[in-house]
Amino acid sequence: MTTAIATSELVKTFGSTRALDRLDLTVSTGEVHGFLGPNGAGKSTTIRVLLGLLRADSGRVEMLGTDPWHDAVALHRRMAYVPGDVELWPNLTGGEAIDLLGRLRGGLNPARRAELIARFDLDPTKKGRTYSKGNRQKVAIVAALASEAELLLLDEPTAGLDPLMEVVFQDVINQVKAEGRTVLLSSHILAQVEELADRVSIIRQGEIVQSGTLAEMRHLTRTTIEADTGRPVSGLDQLPGIHDLETGDRRVRFAVDGDHLDDAIRTLSRFQIRTLTSHPPTLEELMLRHYGDELAAAGNGRNGDTHPETAGTGEGARR
């Protein structure tokens, strides 16, 4: 499998703010790669460096085998971009903006353009200044997806889209994936990434804190178990890898590390299980493991589940 995007030790500073702090990101050809992080973590800065709009202070970037800062034009012919906050020309219609951007990239597929406009229910005859945020976003999405680009950089592309359009977007991205194109999808909408992404990288304060397939990440994290039992449960607190244990009369709820799941279920089965629900960690929980410290500091901590090694102070880097 070849690599579409590879960065190593990427550093970008704005004045005294360190927006990217030795960022390593790898995206393989043909995958949909989720790029997750809270606002200000450095997602947009990373994408702009990948586009060659910003120059990294140090580190290495390779996009489709080229350096985006030096070979921007050749690279851009092979890729398309949807910014997170789309601005359109006030006196150009949406249709004109789509065509202009598409043609400047080297042409777009008219059939696909028509299909996308219909699917996203976009009125291409309206002037740029009259579009709502969601509709501006649609214009950029259509312009990017109507191209034959082999690599798509999407920076929170569905911000402002309604849930119905969100579904359309997922359909379209799955179609893109089926065609073997590569997608880097930045988002803080976890459900979307969970739905679409093959692999995920989590960025926090300018560095990638975790990267892998969702399955790999779940392995690293905890499964939540809830059970009703015939007899009161005891002894679970003696086991390693059990967290947040809550025991009621004949009811128990706990989180367990992947390595110790087997032991926990074995123990539980001795108390006559009546009902059992387990759910794998959602991306929300994955995120909380990495950002729990910030939330806790802000007074929103769920379990006081903090990780001292990732504890940090200060605002995230500039987006």
Binding site: A72, L104, T125
Partner: protein, 549 residues
Amino acid sequence: MTVTAVRQQAPAAAGHVHGSTLAGTGTLIRFGLRRDRFKLPAWLLGITVLLSLFLSAVSENTKTEEQRQDLSRFMEGALGALFGPGYGRDDVTAERYVVGVYGLFFFVLAALMSLQLVARHTRAEEQSGRAELVRAGVVGRHAQLAAALTIAAGANVALALTLSGVMAANGYAGADGLLFGAGIAAVGMVFAGITALTVQVTEYARTATGIAGAALGAAWAVRAVGDMMREHGSPLSWFSPLAWSNQTRPYADGRWWPLLLSLGLAAAAAATGFALSTRRDVGAGLAAARPGAPVAAPWLRSPLAAAFRLQRASLIWWTAALAAFGFIFGGLADQVADPENISEDRIEMFGGSLDTLVDGYLGMITLLTAALAGIMVFLGVQAVRAEETTGRAEPMLATAISRGAWFGSYLAVVSIGLVVLLTLVGLTTGVGAALSVGDGSYVWQMTTSHLAHAPGVLVLLGIAALLFGVLPKLIGTTWVAIGYGLFVGLFGTIMDMSQSARNLSPLEHTGQPPLDSVSWSTVLVLLVVAVVLMGAGLAGFRHRDLETK
């Protein structure tokens, strides 16, 4: 107990249907004043200072009989009619001259202040969506417009008082000063009223101010043509709100009643605005936005085409406005450069010799056009900067066009636009001058004279381009170069500035054709400087980060 309180209030509010449409007006007035706490005083102060400057300049130029004879040319005939009906021109005094000729500037400024103020507090608020937030509160349907008009009225009254104060402080009779100030405020109120109407029609604040501005232009044209038809104005003049303020004749034969017409029109326009506002939704206009093309024109497929498409409207308007300006002022050459009764100062201003007065005058007009074209090219670069800071450049530069091609396209479009503009303005100025003086050779002469300024203006473009590429945040300092060029051109001779100080202005090196002849070597040097500056700007832009939101 809360429940009963609510129940008691509800019918009470419903009972005052009329008053409730204005609920919250007082708060909105205070809010508006708070938002405009710098802008409004700046307008008032600026206009007041301008009057002081005019008064001191004119009183210097009305000391001798010769000077007064010279000035009367600006109050007579076609030239005089551009400014006003020319009351008191048989016995020119400083105050009569300021009121009769410079009065027009104050009418225009008061109108611009008022129309922008009303649009800013009404349509611009709706366009941004802020009005929705405000209207969701306990705010009546008419409160926002009523508050905007109240602030406009207050601003215009304050303007009338400060301007009459300036007149009185300079020793010109108080009552006529108040009449002059009131005439200016009346123009302001008329255009506040007209804007209250136009903001109902369109969804965009810029279009609304544009329509009101066009009405101002039309009012000027009607008055100017009317005043050309007959001495001190014809019946046609009276169709213009500007004429009503002129016809109060301050310092000549003062009378107040024409201002009743102004107040009547202002009130009628505002009332129509209120009435129309009830027939539309918040955020909508009476005229629905027209749909545009669903696909881009086939030619819109290169960075050059894109830059042209985005600059097109601006280039057309600048060219049309300056061409009209050139034709009018070219056409006045005969009268302005009339050697009869001309003062020494003016001979000095127009090149220092009685034999070349027309050329000297036309040279100044050409320089003025060049400086205005400098503003156009600078605004062109500022538009590029706006593309960058608003985030529109980002998706463009993420396509397969290089930084150099993107920015270079704008520079090319603006440069070519400049050459076309100077050619056309030169032609219209030349035709105007040829008709006025009766010498057809001016058509060719003025066209080449305007084109001779192109390299100097391109240097201004180069300065702006360099700043954009290297120090984009300081791009505004280009104004200094433009302003300095204009200042040196207009006042350099009169103020005896040293040649080395004058040489700092890029426009100075061209001289003032057709009075001065232009050397090819100068043209070449200026072109090289312009190209080097633009090249450095392009290189700088290629090597810096794109500024993003």
